[in-house]
């Protein structure tokens, strides 16, 4: 579904990474790790078309990224659920409408029962009418996950989803991701939390990709 072939990224001040080849197939579960600034967020952005690589090819659902028109990009993003590092909500709309936003922009009405079920699944039913700034870090992360999956996407990309939450909440978010993966969705989580990766290995056959020396490597069993 998402394929990167010999991709290099260069922001102008030198090369961030090069020769990255990656394929996200249905049902796969990947972790992406590496030091800060090694390109984890950049790689995720390539996977949903917010950035274009300096070299190499990115295929998103069969389309080459550079050949996609703006409306193609919009349609592709409806098939990719992204949990952003900073969550990015519309602060003037209540949580329920924020979670349903992907449906709204696609011109579809949210089914009230399904939305309530989704909010209950991430444990946010009581906060449905709260505004995003009133939520705690963990609540925002779970809301971001709910928004990422409301369109029933084929791929879920998460950038440091456990960045601002305690260990208990991290495990809860991880369990939610594992449940989604069991439903056949491809999952890619960028994180530098090795404990989270270890915790995941007991639940799911996850592969760990690590940025080292500007290259992406498949990490061995040393984790």
């Amino acid at each position: 579904m998402i394929e990167l072939q010999s991709v290099a990224m260069n922001y102008g001040g030198g090369e961030l990474f090069a020769d990255v080849t990656l394929k996200l197939a249905p049902g796969s579960f990947h972790f992406l790790t590496g030091p800060s600034g090694s390109g984890k967020t950049t790689l995720l952005k390539l996977c949903y078309g917010e950035l274009v690589p300096s070299a190499g090819q990115v295929h998103l659902f069969g389309q080459e990224l550079r050949q996609m028109r703006r409306d193609d990009t919009a349609r592709m993003r409806r098939r990719v659920g992204v949990v952003h590092q900073d969550c990015s909500f519309l602060d003037h709309l209540p949580l329920a409408e924020n979670v349903a936003l992907p449906l709204t922009v696609a011109g579809r009405a949210a089914d009230a029962a399904e939305l309530a079920e989704l909010l209950a699944w991430v444990g946010l039913a009581p906060q449905a009418q709260a505004l995003p700034p009133q939520l705690s870090g963990g609540e925002r992360q779970r809301a971001a996950l709910a928004r990422a999956i409301i369109m029933s996407p084929d791929v879920i990309l998460a950038d440091e989803p456990t960045g601002n939450v305690d260990w208990e909440m991290s495990l809860r978010l991880l369990t939610l991701m594992v449940e989604l993966n069991r439903m056949g969705k491809a999952v890619l989580i960028a994180t530098h939390d090795l404990n989270l990766i270890r915790a995941a290995k007991s639940q799911v056959a996850a592969r760990v990709l690590r940025f080292k020396g500007r290259r992406l490597q498949l990490a061995g069993a040393d984790l």
Partner: protein
């Protein structure tokens, strides 16, 4: 969550903007108010130009300056020539009373007319075909040496030109108002787009098409321009209707306004303002969106 129409939903995703919204409304109203006056000016001067053209073109005057003894004979000769000239509907020598009435405003009512060597005036009313002024002049010179034809062209032309120029300036003002309205709405829309950069990025990331995002802004500014210019147009029309009535002798100032079907023209201002706002906001939004992947 209730079911909502997509258009309304598109409006809601952008946060409400109280103060700038009112500014756009007020500016659109002011521009529409000015547009009504520019339109009134154009139409009034247009009417004036065509009225002067019509009325003055259909009349001419022959002035006869001759010694007292020859006056009657030359007047008779002039009338005879005129009656035989094609294009003259009627020709008539002005009576002493009429001359008195014409001169009264300048010399007062007690003017001893008989004691002054006044020229005799002959008023010509032309038929639709008009007269050949040059041919008539030559003919008059031969029959009555003291007769001078004045077809009013000399002083009519600058007046008609001035009126036409005023009308042109009115049109230029209308065009300037339209351009200013567009510029003002582009500025307001760009401010709104910049202030909502975060909202736009979030919408784009969750899969919104450019059309959807642009629509949220375009809808607002189009509605504001429509409502604002409707208010401004209503106020302008009220002000014009409340002007003192113009009498037939009124100059162009008291004649400022609309007549008959012209009253319908200002009603085109609000839809046109809305159209300008629609195009301006759409262009601004799509330009801004090109910078966000």
């Amino acid at each position: 969550m209730t079911r909502r129409q997509p258009a309304l939903a598109a409006g809601r995703v952008v946060p409400p903007s109280g103060f700038t919204a009112r500014l756009t409304l007020v500016s659109a109203a002011a521009m529409a108010f000015l547009a009504v006056f520019a339109l009134a000016l154009s139409m009034a001067t247009g009417r004036l130009a065509s009225r002067w053209n019509d009325e003055l073109a259909r009349s001419a005057t022959v002035r006869i300056s001759a010694p007292a003894g020859q006056m009657a004979a030359q007047t008779a000769a002039v009338l005879e020539v005129l009656n035989a000239t094609p294009g003259v509907a009627s020709a008539r020598a002005l009576s002493a009373e009429e001359m008195q009435a014409l001169l009264g405003p300048w010399f007062g009512p007690d003017l001893p007319l008989a004691s002054l060597p006044l020229p005799q005036l002959v008023e010509i009313v032309e038929s639709a075909a008009g007269i050949d002024a040059e041919g008539l002049r030559l003919h008059l010179a031969a029959e009555a040496p003291g007769a001078v034809l004045d077809d009013h062209a000399r002083w009519r032309r600058p007046l008609v030109e001035a009126a036409a120029r005023l009308r042109f300036l009115g049109m230029v003002s209308l065009a300037l108002i339209a351009v200013t309205t567009a510029a003002m709405i582009v500025l307001a829309a760009q401010a709104a787009l910049a202030a909502n950069g975060q909202v736009i990025r979030v919408l784009r990331l969750v899969g919104a098409r450019d059309q959807f995002i642009a629509r949220a802004f375009v809808r607002r500014f189009t509605l504001r321009a429509l409502v604002g210019s409707a208010l401004g147009t209503a106020a302008g029309l009220g002000a014009i209707a409340a002007l003192p009535a113009a009498d037939s002798a009124g100059g162009f100032l008291t004649g400022l306004g609309f007549s008959g079907a012209q009253w319908l023209a200002p009603f085109a201002i609000p839809p046109l303002a809305a159209l300008v706002a629609w195009a301006a906001t759409r262009a601004a939004a799509l330009t801004m969106l090109r910078g966000i992947r």
